[in-house]
Symmetry: D2
Subunit: 355 residues, 4 copies
């Protein structure tokens, strides 16, 4: 079993497992981070791994996970395989004493995810979920805006993530795309606000065998709602999140680099019951704010680079990463409830039993 | 009781009732249409009516509906009062033998709307609902695209209509905004496809006493779904309808005059079961179309002018207008079901009992 | 000759001359302004005037300008005829003692425009040029931003005004469209900055007999430049003005109602010579600002309504309107110099002889 | 001196010189192209080269160009150093018998560029200029549209390339940005149309010591004009090229991935003189087309990958690359003429003496 002295300034030895869509991005970012030393890229299809590594690299491709886990230079493993294999791969890595980073979703079920969290806890190892969007400058700012109270009381969240996307073979559009929206939600919600139930409807108009379009409605503990639209079939790409608050409303349009984040001092105010006597007078006191919009300057940091940096920080300090296994588990809880709701035609499913 | 010879080439005498938000638009368009002669603008607030008519016009303002209905020169009445008064005003007009145009929604309830339809039927009078959007060049084209089969089999409709809007005092956001989406849906759906159920969730985060944000999900008879997002609180104005079909997907962005309607030859195709043996092979045969986009040239006709023209045509020919009372009634049926669903926390409400 | 007591609270009697493209807008706005009483709409084509007035109005159409000018109730005349007739019509109105509003450009030449200014001066009558854009909330704000020093020292102005426009029969694209840009420039420039020369190139690729596309470059007295692109042949509509200053840069995108005016705290700073010793060090001290963008809330006032209001204010107070005859004359001076430059293949023409 | 058998299927040995802004992109693309074997990355600042190569690569960093040129495995050299050093580095490479790829602009002057072209000709070596944009799917399509006659007769080109850009220390904005526009122009113009003169104005409002904003106007041999706006100081990024033709007008908006290329059937037609008798009748026969817009599907090929592929093809076949030294030289001719025009305050400079 590998042990890692936290004061050690030497690079953290790392291996990437999975050379498909996401793995090459991890390879590139671990190579660019001086706090890591990438040793292996592991994939059942070793030719694919070889192609990804390229002719110039000293990183070794392999199809043998055992070889990787047996390498004492390897302190950490990043898992970018299909969701159905996360448990097996990540568990083996934890059992070999490696810190683990897992691509979203953390696992194929809440039970599997919990098993990983428990195993990491037992062994005192870092377990991190690659909720990449949480490391973008925009989401960092959204969290600040919501946690600081700058937007006021949270009123609603509307998130649209649609595109002509790859129809996945093992998971539906909810498990493929909604982890982004749900992990962002988990990250930015103020500490006292949590999702309490979810209802989901979906449709499979092309006969793919799973939902290709879905709508999720989450009730939040403060009475606000969050709505998520995910869609693999849209010819246009829309990635817009609107966060309404009592003081400000924020619009994040991720496909508009010229105006990615806009903070509006526009909204509707209603004088509170305390100030007024009755229904009649209240109705007279609706007022409209129509103030300025501010688009704050944001850094240009690549999210994945920041995520890799945070993985390193968590390993070295022994403290949980910003998007730790528990965050991944909370997302799994919502996904599973959404699947139950989908199967029941949109019934509202409570989230009371979540971690 | 007024009678109108359908071969008569003389202008149709008309009165507008209601000088609030929409009435002035009707006044202007009746004045600009040579097939009509506008005689009256009636409003309980006669000063408001006087202001709207202006200092230059021969149109007479009045607060007395009886005076208007007693005028034999008046063959038709356009009702632009609050929804709660539609039954009373329109019924009085029908009983006075006038043809009637009613602003959406047709009435405050399905029962009230049915009463108007029946009364107009009994008297052989034209009853028309001002579903203005149905007379835009875009919606006319959408109907052609769906009825002709050019988009293939309808797969889904997603409609977003959000803005910083007036918080109405008598109706919620569903009754205020969704009539637009539902009347468009009613107008463009191919003849063999009908809504069969609706589920709705809403929220009132500002304490207005009624839903300010709502999401409607309609199941259609061919298995497709239609989803509607209406919102009074959004700082940005979005009016986008995506209509997915098996051959083409159409995107209508009403706030983008440079690209209002786009027809995409982009999508996902799955080989049908007949062509394939089993699940495994089917999954291999997902294919992606990535063809051209065409933005068809559209005329610049003002929708309200075309609506007024259609009202005249229907009166003169004695044939139903494109958006007749029954269309208005079908929309009311969905609105009422949506309200029931809202009250039940989003339960699915069937539409089987609709006209 | 009409005289108007400035303390008089009665409406100012007014006539509009010209019922073509712009006249109807003036008719509508004079009718909506309680400070005016519109009596006449005059056009050589009396049927056109009759159509514009409509069947309901008490405004009288006529083809006889003499009849209008002889009417003592008429204190003011608004001229919306082709530019080539402005001198004749406006001069007759001034000679009849009427205050005069003239559509842009003020006249067909600088000499003609000067004649109007002199005649109005001699008679103590208001002469106003309808530089409509100067009455928009955006341009009002631009003037404030530049006059207050908020944008810092003016560095450059780039104005693009292109569209598929009507190819005029009497004037080229410079005289048709650039009056907008030049009148805006005249209005917003800080008092100490004036255009000192202009160079213009144009092209007539369709054989229309006059330039359909043109580029103007103006040198300003503080060393900045202003560039104007006008084009009748563009399939897309672009109306963007960028105003670069040493502290802020402002972008006005008139076809984007969601973000019409944006104030950027972005730019390049170079340490001044005083602070540094030599070329080498200066080059090292280029720095980049990348601050927030603010889109200020703007009112929704219709520009033409504000213009008409200002015409009334000027008449009643006897003080010059914001866009008086002299402003119109300054624009004519640049237009004429631009025409000379066009004829000389783009040579720089000084503006030293301007009023 | 290296010789390369054109039938050889072995990878072409290559070295990159310059590890600044552009060099790393070349490194990455040569590594990804199986037709090349990258051996060296050379930079005077060897630490920078080492950083770019990274800890994992077998590519060798060096500060010694002589070492690179003496390596017989190196058949080709890609030069991505500052423009002022292109002659020295590229000439040394050619004299060492290497094929050469040079970043734009080809050299610091027309004379220097010609020297490179002549040297490559004399030695029978490939000399290519990295006009990257010419290898984008959009520009490939633009060339087809113009060469095939699909857009009809070319009427005008308007190119805007503005951004908050790096203020270069050795070259002005014309030499920094306009090579993109001019190389695209060179590539897409139909064979019978060539630039015949250029006029340029510029300004340096920040005291950078060189023009930061410039406007170029090129007269083309068929009477059309091309206008280029380049600007380092704009807070917004605009990269729009409009190409007007007698049959179609094409708009390329490079910052809008949803609608990068749009082909408009919109425009103005004037009946020709042959069809008509005189000026009066001609003016009556202006007509407006207002047809559909088509956004053609374009591939997603990375331009730099295609450029590298073309470099390989040219070397192996001994035929000129699409953007050969002569293309680079033609661009230099226009740049030099533009600089002369700038120095003369915008005078028109003929291009008659160009290669």
């Amino acid at each position: 079993v590998t042990t890692l002295a936290t004061t050690n300034k030497d690079p953290i030895g790392v291996a990437v497992v999975g050379a498909g869509y996401w793995g090459p991005n991890l390879v590139r970012n671990f190579q660019n981070n001086s706090g890591f030393q990438l040793h292996w890229l592991c994939d059942l299809d070793v030719e694919r791994a070889t192609r990804v590594v390229g002719r110039y690299s000293s990183v070794r491709p392999t199809a043998d996970l055992g070889e990787v886990l047996a390498d004492d230079r390897v302190h950490a493993v990043a898992v970018a395989t299909p969701a159905g294999t996360h448990l097996e791969v990540a568990l083996a890595a934890l059992e070999a004493g490696k810190h683990v980073l897992v691509e979203k979703p953390l696992a194929a079920s809440y039970a599997e995810g919990r098993r990983l969290v428990e195993e990491a806890d037992r062994r005192g190892l870092t377990l991190m979920c690659d909720h990449t969007f949480c490391y973008t400058p925009v989401v960092t700012r959204l969290r600040e805006l919501l946690h600081s109270g700058e937007v006021g009381e949270l009123q609603y969240i509307d998130s649209v993530r649609i595109n002509l996307g790859l129809v996945q073979r093992d998971i539906d559009v909810v498990w493929d795309l909604a982890p982004h929206d749900l992990s962002i939600l988990d990250y930015v919600l103020p500490p006292n606000v949590r999702p309490v139930s979810v209802a989901a409807v979906g449709t499979d108009p092309i006969g793919a065998g799973r939902s290709c379009i879905a709508y999720l409605t989450l009730a939040l503990s403060n009475g606000a709602i969050a709505h998520v639209h995910v869609n693999w079939l849209s010819p246009i790409k829309v990635r817009t999140v609107i966060i309404g608050g009592s003081k400000r409303t924020v619009v994040w349009d991720d496909v508009n680099p010229m105006l990615r984040l806009a903070i509006f001092d526009r909204g509707v105010d209603v004088a509170t019951k305390d100030e007024l006597g009755d229904q009649e007078r209240r109705e007279l006191l609706i007022s409209y704010r129509s103030g300025d919009m501010v688009a704050p300057a944001l850094g240009e940091r690549e999210a994945l680079a920041a995520m890799v940096e945070e993985f390193g920080r968590a390993i070295r300090t022994g403290t949980p990463p910003l998007t730790d296994g528990r965050a991944g588990l909370r997302v799994l809880g919502i996904l599973e409830a959404a699947s139950r709701s989908l199967a029941q035609g949109g019934a509202t499913v409570p989230l009371t039993d979540m971690a």
